[in-house]
């Protein structure tokens, strides 16, 4: 029986990576928040990799941290190995990545929610979003009959919504990790006019550590002196475990090929669209048939866990096939599977129905984040959760929205891609998606975003001050390098010769000029820089990047200025695209559906060609002339 269970400002549905950030952000900003989760033991669960960060995802985590989110801190605290990926490929693609203790991460996150004022963590399955007479969100009903009043609802349903798992011909309606699926809410979302789609993802088997011959495998250790994700938190990640590398081989592939008729991915049982960039092993074997082997990693699921996650072997093949194929792999000849891999299919919405706040345009008060919006990955989910939570709070307070643009960084790019271009497969963040990546780096997320986090009340003044201090010190050191002249002395020229770079002739050179030379690093220059002040390593890093990449950084700044011009041409809200006969039909329909805020956003919509943008500009200027705008 339905009963009135309480009144909140905001109800967050789900306590995965998106739900956690949404609930914490809204509560910390002052809203009264209810956070629902179908199983309180699964708060902050990592049903796939026991890992946070990675290429482009590491950037997201640092941005989340700079805005006052929780993920970076929790990941640092529960890290059991930490590495900076893509070292040597340039600062734009450096990406921090941690192996995490799953159990510790869950408990750290659960306690963060439990200890947050204004927030109640509550077990329960949402069944229906209720609207008031004006068509705005007013409550959420649980399957138990509890009805919680709320002015805003943030949906973060992950893979639980309509979840169905596949292991060969074994199919079960359930969520990840043996948890229950949430089956009632989809009907309510359909009734609200949202179109529902099916996406799928998958996970590899977990192997019993004791059954693996680790001595046959190449170990992979964490970085010395890792810095972590979180800025100025005082927590340094630890390295307490090793990962191991191995490979599939021709025998593995034979077994896979022989079992394709039992893979639901190939027999057509799965309708959901899977991610191209995170393919299952059967996908890889079929699509890259000429590849003799595929790289695999064994990643510990925790410091004291006996489970090894077999990265790279995601599969939906039947259990007996999984056992057979795993045992063809070097080091895994006697491996025992503890948890078999599986594919999971789930309900999600078309993100084109959202705006940059991650609000459902047609339903005031309804927000969405994470896999429900078509993304994949913990970090993508957390980033959206943070933005949706902040905006749910601002919506409830009647305040102006908080949105990030592509120029602000990866979070802005992620959301702009989702709500402007949409996605036909689970969307993963990649460095190649950010056109301003030389400016939007992981090392300067604090400089880019902490000010905003401070203004929102999510970042403490003490942390924001540290970011300002970093910026000040960087400026000072750059000025000092410019003013400090290395003389054309024997000592200086010997130093230059030892670094295989040309000597100074008659005139001296500033240290700034010398640092521009590819052969010289900031550290190396210390030898001819007796007056160098003692500056923190993160400042030295900023200085070095600013000097080495100055030309490119300037260019990106110009690109950003260009972009801002297009972004500053806002499009009137009620504009009638369907009657614009100058536009092609597809463009008219897309513009009508997505209703971009700016001309810049209009140009990024797939199906809107440059010629359409041209025509749109003409129409706008004609309307302006006729004073219709």
């Amino acid at each position: 029986m339905n009963y009135s269970a309480g009144t909140y400002d905001i109800a967050v549905v789900g306590a995965g990576h998106a739900g956690i950030e949404a609930a914490l952000a809204a509560a910390r900003m002052g809203s009264r928040v209810l956070c629902l989760c179908t199983c309180l033991d699964a708060v902050g669960n990592m049903p796939c990799n026991p890992s946070i960060g990675g290429t482009a995802k590491g950037q997201l985590v640092r941005e989340i941290d700079a805005l006052g989110g929780e993920m970076g801190r929790a990941a640092d605290r529960t890290a059991i190995q930490f590495r900076m990926l893509n070292r040597g490929k340039g600062p734009a693609v450096f990406s921090p990545r941690a192996q995490n203790d799953r159990a510790a991460y869950r408990s750290v996150m659960k306690s963060a929610l439990e200890n947050c004022p204004n927030l109640l963590l509550r077990q329960g399955e949402a069944a229906e979003v209720l609207l008031d007479d004006a068509g705005a969100v007013c409550a959420v009903r649980l399957t138990s009959g509890a009805v919680f009043s709320a002015k805003a609802v943030v949906l973060c349903t992950g893979t639980f919504l309509g979840g169905r798992i596949f292991m060969g011909d074994v199919v079960r309606d359930m969520g990840p990790d043996g948890l229950m699926a949430a089956n009632e809410l989809t009907g309510s979302l359909r009734a609200l006019g949202l179109s529902i789609r099916r996406f799928k993802t998958g996970t590899p088997p977990r192997i019993a550590a004791g059954s693996v011959d680790l001595s046959a495998l190449e170990p992979q250790d964490g970085d010395e002196n890792p810095q972590g994700f979180s800025f100025y938190s005082g927590v340094r990640p630890r390295n307490s475990v090793r990962c191991y590398m191995t490979y599939t081989n021709e025998r593995t592939h034979e077994i896979i090929r022989g079992a394709l008729d039992r893979s639901p991915l190939f027999t057509g049982v799965i309708d959901g669209v899977g991610p191209r960039y995170c393919p299952s092993i059967e996908d890889k074997v079929v699509r890259f048939a000429d590849k003799e082997r595929h790289q695999l990693f064994l990643e510990p699921c925790g410091e004291h866990s006996g489970e090894l996650y077999l990265q790279g072997l995601s599969t939906s093949l039947p259990e007996d096939v999984q056992v057979a194929m795993v045992r063809t792999i070097r080091g895994l000849e006697h491996a025992e599977i503890m948890r078999p891999g599986y594919a999971i299919e789930y309900d999600c919405i078309d993100p084109l129905c959202l705006d940059a706040r991650l609000a459902v345009k047609a339903v005031p008060g309804l927000f969405a984040a994470g896999q429900l919006c078509g993304s994949s990955g913990y970090e993508e989910a957390a980033a959206q959760g943070l933005i949706a939570g902040i905006n749910a709070h601002l919506f409830v307070r009647g305040e102006l929205p908080f949105t990030l643009t592509r120029m602000d960084g990866y979070i802005g790019t992620l959301i702009d891609d989702l709500v402007t271009k949409g996605t036909n497969e689970p969307y993963r963040m990649m460095t190649s998606r950010s056109e301003y990546r030389l400016i939007c780096r992981q090392d300067n997320a604090d400089l880019r975003l902490m000010e905003k986090g401070l203004a929102l009340g999510l970042v403490s003044p003490e942390r924001a001050e540290k970011a300002q201090q970093k910026a000040r010190l960087t400026e000072l050191e750059l000025k000092r390098l410019q003013k400090t002249i290395a003389p054309p002395s024997q000592a200086v020229n010997d130093f230059l010769a030892s670094h295989k770079t040309s000597p100074l002739a008659l005139r001296g050179a500033s240290l700034l000029e010398l640092l521009r030379r590819p052969e010289l690093s900031y550290d190396a220059l210390a030898a001819i820089d007796p007056g160098r002040p003692d500056i923190p390593s993160d400042v030295a890093e900023q200085v070095e990047i600013a000097v080495k990449y100055e030309g490119y950084i300037r260019r990106q700044e110009r690109d950003i200025a260009d972009m801002q011009r297009m972004e500053s041409r806002t499009l009137p809200e009620g504009i009638d695209y369907l009657s614009m006969t100058l536009l092609r039909t597809e463009a008219r329909q897309k513009l009508d559906r997505i209703r971009p805020r700016t001309l810049g956003q209009a140009g990024r919509i797939s199906g809107v060609s440059p010629a359409d943008v041209a025509a749109l500009m003409v129409i706008l200027s004609q309307m302006e002339e006729k004073h219709e705008l």
């Binding site: 340039g90 990406s95 460095t431 080495k548 100058l582 010629a611 025509a615």
Partner: protein, 450 residues
């Protein structure tokens, strides 16, 4: 989209007039304007076939007996439903047909509108659309051949391939970075440099081709020089076939450089008529002389004009510095008057000597065929649009910058930004990627909405 109609033939009257319709109502309109012989509507007949029938006026009277064709979307020039009527080229017939079409809801097409629609509907790339404009402007066979080859993708296709190669370079790097766990072939800087080097060469060749291509379009520049009153302007007018230069018998009348393209058999020549080179007597004349010298700088060849009715005076050695080493012919003018010297006296100092009369036209043909022979043959397909050339130049600069950075040890995350920029410029050439500037350009050229 509304339906547009226009006379697509040349000026009337002519042997044939062409009325063209494009848009969703092209079918219903052609059915009413044109009644085929067997009285079945042309839209129900085969697409892309000519049918014979009656052209009807608004009042239903037969205007003409003619041929017509209907092209069903998307297989038409514009990508929309289209119809063409080939009637007798009388203004009354063509205008009658158009009036009827307008009465049925068509509107007059704006300049370039059929081509613009073809571009908007993805039937033509930008390079190809520009080639259409070139084709319409073509005055020589060489220009027409070049435009036709461009329309056929002779520039667009290799550019798209080059763009693909550069995009592939970027994609490889990002694949390596974005999938650190997959063992993808490592991104090798040496191979990246090779690709950039090759791309640079290709772009350099295209840019050089533009210089030749612009000669093709603007004409091979030839300076017409000589002492005052030698008959330069008369020669200029005779070659150009119009009275562009002011011709008087008073020395020093031509004070400006006049340019006149002249279509010859071998291609186009751009004649640069210069003020007489002499000691200037006034400010205006001084400027004229300076301009003449500048024109000589641009010229690839010169015609030195001598007055055949006057004894040889002045020093033909005083050829402007800028013209030395370039082909130079002596033109002995006014051979309709009694000769004052033997033209063959000039033979050892010039590449060729022509005796002619600008007044009667005698001897002009020989001069024209000498000029035709100077024009370099096209051979390859040349870039002719300044817009394309400017973008190719910028793409080349970006590729060169990337190569320099790569060789200076810059990381790929940075120098690939240059490559991505080159990809954008190439995309703008072909119309696959268009920035705001191009958008503005599209505006002005196609007069959208005016």
């Amino acid at each position: 989209m509304d339906t547009i109609a226009a006379c697509s033939g040349g000026a009337l009257p002519a042997a044939i007039g062409i009325v063209r319709l494009s848009g969703p109502d092209a079918g219903p309109i052609i059915e009413k304007i044109f009644s085929s012989k067997d009285e079945n509507p042309i839209t129900k007949k085969k697409t892309y076939h000519l049918y014979y029938g009656k052209l009807l006026s608004q009042s239903g009277k037969t205007l003409d007996l003619c041929l017509a064709a209907f092209y069903r979307a998307p297989h038409s020039y514009t990508g929309e439903d289209m119809a063409e009527i080939f009637c007798h080229g009388s203004p009354a017939v063509v205008e009658g047909a158009l009036r009827h079409a307008y009465a049925l809801g068509a509107r007059p097409a704006g300049p370039g509108e059929f081509t613009r629609r073809a571009f908007l509907n993805g039937k033509l790339g930008l390079v190809e659309a520009e080639a259409v404009a070139d084709m319409l402007d073509a005055q020589t066979e060489q220009e027409a051949l070049n435009a036709a080859a461009q329309l056929d993708g002779a520039i667009g296709t290799p550019l798209r391939a080059l763009r693909g190669e550069l995009t592939g370079l970027c994609a490889h790097f990002y694949a390596v970075c974005d999938y650190p766990d997959e063992d993808i072939d490592p991104f090798e800087y040496s191979r990246a440099s090779e690709t950039l080097l090759r791309a640079g060469q290709q772009l350099r060749a295209l840019c050089a081709g533009f210089e030749r291509g612009s000669l093709l379009k603007s004409g091979f520049p030839v300076a017409v020089v000589g002492l005052p009153n030698a008959g330069k302007s008369s020669l200029f007018n005779a070659l150009a076939g119009s009275d562009r230069a002011i011709v008087t018998s008073e020395a020093g009348t031509t004070r400006d450089v006049l340019e006149q393209p002249v279509a010859l058999a071998g291609g186009r020549v751009l004649l640069l008529d210069t003020a007489g080179i002499r000691t200037p007597e006034g400010e205006a004349e001084r400027i004229g002389v300076e301009r003449a010298l500048q024109a000589a700088q641009r010229a690839r060849a010169a015609l030195w004009v001598f007055d055949g009715s006057q004894p040889l005076s002045g020093d033909p050695e005083a050829l402007p510095e800028a013209l030395r080493g370039k082909p130079c012919a002596a033109v002995v003018s006014k051979n309709d008057l009694p000769p004052a010297f033997d033209p063959s006296e000039l033979e050892d100092r010039f590449d060729a000597v022509f005796s002619l009369s600008s007044k009667t036209g005698e001897g002009l043909d020989a001069l024209c065929s000498w000029l035709s022979g100077l024009i370099p043959p096209a051979g390859e397909v040349l870039v002719t649009s300044p817009r394309q050339a400017a973008l190719l130049r910028r793409a080349l600069d970006s590729v060169d910058a990337a190569l320099a950075s790569a060789q200076a040890g810059m990381t790929a995350d940075a120098f690939l930004l240059d490559v991505e920029q080159a990809v954008r410029f190439l995309g703008e050439v072909t119309g696959e990627d268009v920035s705001q500037d191009v958008v503005k350009d599209i505006f002005s050229r196609f007069c959208v909405g005016k």
